[in-house]
Symmetry: C2
Subunit: 188 residues, 2 copies
């Protein structure tokens, strides 16, 4: 499972030039084309990407249907957190929605940075805390708010998503069917 809403840009202040220097030799710049898979379902996620440019979708299969669980934008991290930490096969694909440029860092290197640098460890903590808070909020909304409300909230908070994803993809982010979203849209 994934949810990489904690943004790296927010953590920039915590990282010294020394921390950057320490990480530098590990960083690899990578490119992906639209529809490339950054991670295949069943594989253990052994990298963490920081998105320089482009958009990634975290996609699961529920029955026959693809569900977009999360969208990651430039300035955000992109990884299958559960798989990454538990070292277990990912239940989702991560797929490029657009051409992408990312900085990749693999599992061992991340652990190395955590071991050697208190600041990186802290970034890791803050990232996880934010992701957690975000996941709880989403869970709460799904349980206690209507689909209509969630759609309005998405419009306000992540309007980019409306432009970029298909109806079905947006619906799955809201946790509803495509038809229901179409009906919500129909009425004003």
């Amino acid at each position: 499972m994934d949810n990489t809403s904690g943004l790296f840009k927010d953590f920039a202040g915590l990282i010294s030039s020394e921390d950057i220097k320490m990480a530098q030799p590990f960083l690899k710049t990578l490119h992906f084309e639209k529809d490339d898979l950054l991670l295949k379902k069943g594989e253990v996620c052994s990298f963490l990407y920081y998105i320089i440019d482009g958009i990634a979708l975290y996609i699961t299969l529920e029955g026959k249907k693809e569900q977009v669980v999360h969208v990651s934008f430039a300035g955000e991290f992109c990884l299958a957190l559960y798989s990454f930490y538990a070292r277990l096969p990912s239940e989702a694909n991560i797929r490029a929605l657009t051409k992408m440029q990312v900085i990749g860092l693999d599992y061992e290197k991340v652990q190395h940075l955590f071991d050697k640098s208190k600041n990186w460890e802290r970034v890791g903590r803050l990232f996880a805390e934010r992701a957690f808070i975000d996941a709880l909020r989403t869970k709460h909304d799904i349980q206690h708010k209507t689909a209509h409300y969630r759609y309005q909230k998405l419009i306000e908070q992540r309007p980019e998503i409306l432009q970029l994803l298909s109806l079905g993809q947006i619906a799955s982010i809201l946790g509803i069917s495509q038809e229901t979203l179409s009906r919500i849209r129909a009425k004003r």
Copy 2:
């Protein structure tokens, strides 16, 4: 919001006797009686409790109805994570379900430990990571599994809860109404 499923006991190996020594002067042992409020809705959560003995409920009000969002047992942390980190008023009460004994540590001291000790920082990271993974899994089940399935899973994974909470409280953990839970129980 809260979800303190990451257990401290799991982190014990990470903490040296020196870390313990560092924390010692900050720790306060506290006692609560059944139904005491450890945190009131509207207050900023400025402590973290580690539960030595007893059980705490994290409770929100949806309309008129109390919803149990999370249950914390002995060996687990207990705090309103969102309020604690964001320094914003909690949307929930935390209430003692039983007589409790806890070790309390307040916000500034926690930050102090994070600042001074890499190991404590790491415990904080792992705690948040686990809580996040857990929250995502719960969210997934609410979205894609039936109430019946979630009930079976609760029986398997947290049977204590069945013994300790009322029907309505269990129902709210499962994200369903009390009547629905009663009906699920009725059939086998």
